[in-house]
Subunit: 332 residues, 2 copies
Amino acid sequence: MATESSSIRPLREVIRPVTLIEANRLSERLGVEVLLASETFQVTGSFKFRAAYHLAAQVPQGLIITASSGNFGQGLARACQILGKRCIVVMPDTSAAVKVEAVREYGGRVEFIDVRVISRQKRVQELAVQHPDGYVASAYDDPLVIEGNASLGEELAGLDRRVDGILAPIGGGGLASGILTGLRRAGSAIPVWAVEPRLANDAARSLREGRIVANDHEPETMADGVRTLSVGRHNWSILKEGLTGILEVSEEQIAVAVRELFHRVNLKAEPTGALSLAGLLSHAEEFQGQTVCCVVSGGNVDPAVYARILAGACPKTLETWFSSSSSSSFSE
Amino acid sequence: MATESSSIRPLREVIRPVTLIEANRLSERLGVEVLLASETFQVTGSFKFRAAYHLAAQVPQGLIITASSGNFGQGLARACQILGKRCIVVMPDTSAAVKVEAVREYGGRVEFIDVRVISRQKRVQELAVQHPDGYVASAYDDPLVIEGNASLGEELAGLDRRVDGILAPIGGGGLASGILTGLRRAGSAIPVWAVEPRLANDAARSLREGRIVANDHEPETMADGVRTLSVGRHNWSILKEGLTGILEVSEEQIAVAVRELFHRVNLKAEPTGALSLAGLLSHAEEFQGQTVCCVVSGGNVDPAVYARILAGACPKTLETWFSSSSSSSFSE
């Protein structure tokens, strides 16, 4: 399927600029000026659309294959819909219905797998063999993904106010490396911290050891957007030089951040989206008197999970959080 | 207490401009281009801050007295905090803790009453006698309130896109009359519909009968921001000429609208804030092919109530909704 390059709308015309919210009530509590940069109202509800659209627009292939039960799948489906391309999204057959519905609503083809029988990588490889005309897309480890996310960094570089630091969630590293790329290209030297669940702290360990360290298994953090085994190679080369540091947070701190965004900002964030605020809440002393921009990466969360977080129950084991969607644990 | 007029910051400098969100997923489902104008990120989480700040800035008194368990109380407390004034907010002693906490956090003095012993009007009158230097503020029936809310109408008149109609919730009428005032002053003829719960349809009946009709008792709609007995006199004189019509919605339609905003827009809205979308959902045929702007008036909602709405339970009797906060039923 040939693409008509001449008719492709540039990224900046199809995305929603990041939504800025001054979190005054949090600022007064913390002694830190809190500026939220929310991607929850981005097309498909997360920053992933930026990367997905840029990738789908740039590759010549008319078919894109990916594995994602989360935001990248939705973003890619919508991007392909806009671009007149096709996509196949591999999802576990136990994925939350709302996530499957969203991919289909955007015109994506869902390919269910039984994760006890076949891994997502294996199924993607099978599909790639069946469809030699297809492009196999990673949700983070691809220069096109980084470039798409760089559009957010460029926006943050252009803010009409002083920002002393930017906090962003990290899983595979696509967002943080994209923000760094966009900021630095626009001439901004604002320090960038990544925030990572302690349960999934491979990026923090990688930064300490100076090489990519992987988790033994997919981490069971409630922040299901960052359940990656490790950062990607393309991301790592940017992160290892560019990041000022990585803040690690507990599951309870993530839950508190989701609730604070609900109570004091009226912002619906998914646990992964609340990571940046969790990092600030747990390291507020280090940012006293500064203006900190917390990137809220997305808002797509299962209503039952969200209600449980609002109810304030902080689980002993993480299974309780995801009892209704425990198998939909594909990262990003 | 004298006010320093010279140091008063104008309304447009202290408010957040309305947040515009293209609700693409809703648009595609409804065949109506849905543009949300959200005040959920306004200072204190609802449009009420516009009115409260304008009123508090304009009256010469240094003390303002009001009865509100809801958004006007929070807005007024924050406005007075900014302006260096004092305020007393009369609230039932059974008000939700989060609401009491918010008024206090903004520096407001909370005056609890036992509603079985004394009415809010009576207590406000007592306080007015005790504090002859105070200004007694209505949350809607005051030209200063209408003027503050007119700032939203002016913003909507200035939108850089075509809008065929505006839908906004109605209770006392402060918001709808303000929007009409601002729009018409800015030269915009966009039709404005108000949306009202069927359980509290005094405004719709008033419009049909050509005179203010009051509810017999405070209506038990889940949209607790519009539990007024009737529209105000100042509001009525604007509404009766200016409104194109009033759409009535069921409690179930309000709940559906809250859920749709959560699922398809990532927007946390309070039931009153979701009224406008409920009106559109239930009258979508009449707006086919048009661009409709739904004003989401506020986002402050008790987490337990919100979780119950998300869970999809639609009550036979309304008590179930507000079992945890049934007495905090002061309107606006």
